[in-house]
């Protein structure tokens, strides 16, 4: 394990040397941090039931560990620390990754015990996972997709860019910010995330999503009602089917399996559409 280096004065020969030596300077080069960040996009490449994202986490940490621990045996020991069980939301894990890099530097300096790195991951992963699942999977993605679906008749293929633009502006911005804050603050990443107003934004996005779903419901009814050709009668049977399916399936879907709901809807639509009823 490396010993802590003293702080050299600015412009001195020691300071110039320290800029080349990440351990002595206490800061990793930006290129190394960028490599760690880019590897965080492959966190779940080898997701497995035993360690979940552990292999991906260790893989992402590898460039930082190579810079911090030049000795292969010390590096292997540090790598083994990051092969412990790890499961978090893949985006919010960027914050833990940044903080883990900072803590590994401190371990290498002898400032903290190596157990602190594992403890940080174990303590932060579950709440970060819950926060990320609630915000990204259950609020932002549905809201962005519903907005794209609602605007698709007007925007056509541009609606894809509505979805990808909204989603990834927030997603990539959050990832970069989390990683940078994690590296800057170490264990202080918790305070940064706590002040990010995530629960408020989640609630707002869910309400927006519900409103957009209402617009789509109205549009589905109007499309079903519209006659196939000009002058033909309104398709009241189709509109009734759509209204009944929306109301009925919204009520029973959690209890009815999706496959059953799909084939039941298809069969009803086939029967009504072909004039069987």
């Amino acid at each position: 394990m490396m010993a802590a280096a003293g702080r050299p004065t600015e412009g001195s020969a020691a300071a110039r040397r320290d800029r080349r030596d990440p351990i002595a300077s206490g800061r990793l080069p930006a290129t190394t941090l960028a490599r760690v960040f880019l590897r965080s996009f492959f966190l779940q490449a080898a997701w497995n039931p035993r360690g979940m994202q552990n292999l991906g986490f260790a893989h992402a940490m590898a460039p930082a560990l190579a810079a911090i621990y030049p000795d292969p045996r010390a590096r292997a020991r540090a790598t083994a620390r990051h092969l412990e069980f790890f499961n978090c939301h893949p985006y919010l894990a960027a914050g833990i990754l940044g903080a883990a890099v900072r803590l590994e530097e401190q371990v290498a300096h002898g400032e903290i015990a190596e157990e602190r790195v594992s403890a940080l991951k174990q303590v932060l992963a579950p709440p970060f996972a819950a926060l990320g699942d609630g915000f990204f999977w259950l609020a932002l993605r549905p809201a962005a997709a519903l907005l794209a679906a609602a605007t698709a008749p007007a925007l056509g293929l541009w609606s894809l860019f509505v979805f990808l633009g909204i989603y990834n502006t927030v997603h990539l911005g959050a990832r970069v910010w989390l990683f940078a804050e994690g590296y800057r603050r170490g264990e202080g990443i918790v305070a940064a995330v706590a002040h990010a107003h995530v629960p408020w934004a989640t609630a707002l996005l869910k309400l927006s999503g519900a409103a957009l779903a209402g617009i789509l419901a109205a549009r589905s009814l109007l499309v079903a009602l519209a006659p196939p050709q000009a002058g033909a009668p309104l398709r009241l049977g189709h509109a009734a089917l759509v209204a009944a399916t929306i109301v009925g399936m919204t009520a029973i879907l959690p209890r009815l399996r999706f496959a059953a709901a799909l084939y039941l809807s298809l069969a009803l639509g086939l029967a009504i559409g072909s004039g069987f009823f």
Binding site: F41, A45, A46, W47, N48, G51, N54, L55, A58, H59, A62, A76, A80, N87, W137, L138, R141, P142, A145, L146, A148, A149, A152, G156, L157, L160, F163, N168, K206, L207, G209, A210, A211, A213, G214, I215, A217, A218, S220, L221, V223, A224, P228, L241, V242, T245, V247, T250, L253, F258, A259, Y263, S265, L266, L268, G269, A271, I272, G273, S274
Partner: protein, 242 residues
Amino acid sequence: MAAGPLSPLHLLQFAALSALVGGLAAIERKGALQLMLSRPLVLAPLLGWALGDARSGLMLGVPLELLFLGGVNLGGSIPENETLLAGALTAALVPAGLIGGRGVDPALAALGLALFYPLAVVGRRLERAAELRNGALLETVLARVQGGDPNAVELNLRGLWLPFASAAAICAACALASPLLAAVRGACGPRVVLGLEGAWHAVWALAVACAIRAIRDPRAPAIAAAIAFVALGAGALFGSLR
């Protein structure tokens, strides 16, 4: 849109394109990036564009997106694989639409969804198989790291191979099956076509219901109903004014 059979070379090109796009989407879905490029809303138009009909891809992608909006990969739970279904469906239906000369119409879309939906379940099983294989990969990595080789973690990216290969093979097979689907659609009489159009309306209705449930907020159904009534009222008023 010119109707007619595709040449074997054309069909092979479609199969290769479907395999490439479908395979890349399969790894983007969970193992890499997660920029949502593999969501049905994006994948179906993208693959449709690669096969020559992006609009048909969009027609398939929007309801598929809403149908699977609530499918979330939380911890060890695995939802149905919407990416494999979207890739396979687009790979089969867009060439079938080109062969038929109508593009992907509601009747073909409903027929395709009814036939290909089980692939979403197959995709979930394949994902479980990939996870078990990754478990074996982890054992290898652990042994090598304990032996003093920290570079063993580079094996992480090998976990992407099985999802890529399996999705690519399935999407290619679906593209090759497209003439069969075009023949089935062509054999449908007018009454069956009307029925399949009704089925597509029902799919849209189910998709809206799934989207409301996906929000997972007890207030969502009431808000959606209120907005729907307002939108219908506004639509009726606008229609009468015109």
